[in-house]
Symmetry: C2
């Protein structure tokens, strides 16, 4: 035991933390496809060819494993969406567009293909007590807050009309997104039509600061955004 | 054993079928709140103060119980929506409206308060194989088909424009519904805004056969519908 303990102090934490990450990543793959309730320690042990007791050593309980899986899913979602937005310093109505655009991109091409993890999880857990449902609701609330904040900032910078109720607008944009995810899951089609729908909705919120022709199509919209990013003082 | 057997033959089938209905109804209450995966034979036995083996006798397997629960949920959903529509013989754009209106009513006031059962179930099971996920997808497909058929009929009767893609329109209406359900689950608010959103969307699909002032508000819309139901030849 002493020897093992010594080994653990020397290189255990790293190896243990690597194993832990591997388990969480695999568990997330399963949960994204089949839901959190599909995560049994027994199943994970089998898929990873580990002992159940070894897995318990890493997580202590199924709930702690589920919590770690949710945290990884949250990180993947928000980094996929926010990294490019922060890197480019997107603001105003463009930030609102980019949040929706990258949400769809995450759902289509992100690490969790089908990307419907939090939608299903939220609808299922909205009325359940306990730490895991609370953690799911917090992610969903964070996502809505991101949209609301971006809408408020766009309203302050006069790209969105002062009369717009930003909470309402966030719910409307979210409806388009989850409705499109429903259609994708049902028919396999992509988000082309959803992107047009998001753009139409932004048009209905926008002030005259944004030229109307920019909203003609996703193509004209992207061209407009690209164009306005060229510094004016060049 | 013989005595019990005799009793069973005499009044067993009825009693058995009553017990079965009771179990399925209770199971649906649990599933509506916590999802199908919360349905264990052990839990149901405890809540109903029955023996596990007694429960197994009624259903044979957890899968058969889940299937019976889904069938009951489907019946409740479709009878709540379709009974008043068929009774009043609603057709045209009014039928499309009524499908959405009663869907929301079912979600708010139906036997499964919160009524988010199939939304959560669909998002969770969309990518899973097996008879239960297939059964869930079939209900959802049936619901979309109802919307599409009503839209097609409204298009044939010249209340919806000939250029309208009915499958698209059904997905758009569905987006408003599930987005509103999301907002209800998140904030507890009712479907007042969703009903206005459905009406706005119908306005965008309607022909000149429907006077534009009918779409001003849900109130004017209901007045218009009530008025047109008065036979013209009186």
């Amino acid at each position: 035991v002493t020897k093992k303990g010594a080994t653990k102090t020397a290189r255990g934490p790293t190896k243990g933390s690597e194993t832990r990450q591997l388990v969480v990543a695999l568990a997330l793959q399963i949960a994204a496809r089949e839901g959190l309730s599909a995560l049994s320690i027994g199943r994970l042990a089998k898929e990873l060819r580990m002992s159940k007791s070894g897995l318990f050593l890493h997580f202590g309980s199924k709930e702690k494993l589920e919590s770690a899986v949710l945290e990884l899913a949250r990180l993947q979602l928000f980094s996929h969406i926010l990294k490019p937005i922060e890197a480019a310093g997107l603001q105003g109505i463009e930030r609102v567009w980019a949040l929706c655009d990258f949400w769809m991109d995450f759902s289509e091409h992100g690490p969790l293909r089908g990307g419907y993890f939090f939608t299903g999880a939220f609808f299922r857990s909205a009325k359940i007590n306990g730490p895991i449902p609370r953690q799911i609701r917090r992610v969903v609330r964070d996502w809505m807050d991101l949209l609301v904040e971006a809408l408020k900032q766009a309203r302050r910078s006069d790209e969105i009309r002062p009369s717009v109720d930003t909470e309402e607008a966030a719910f409307d944009l979210n409806s388009i997104l989850i409705g499109a995810q429903w259609a994708l899951l049902m028919t396999g089609r992509d988000y082309t039509k959803a992107r047009s729908a998001i753009l139409s909705h932004l048009r209905s919120l926008a002030t005259d600061e944004i030229p109307d022709r920019a909203f003609e199509s996703v193509k004209t919209w992207k061209a407009y955004l690209k164009n306005r990013r060229v510094p004016a003082d060049r």
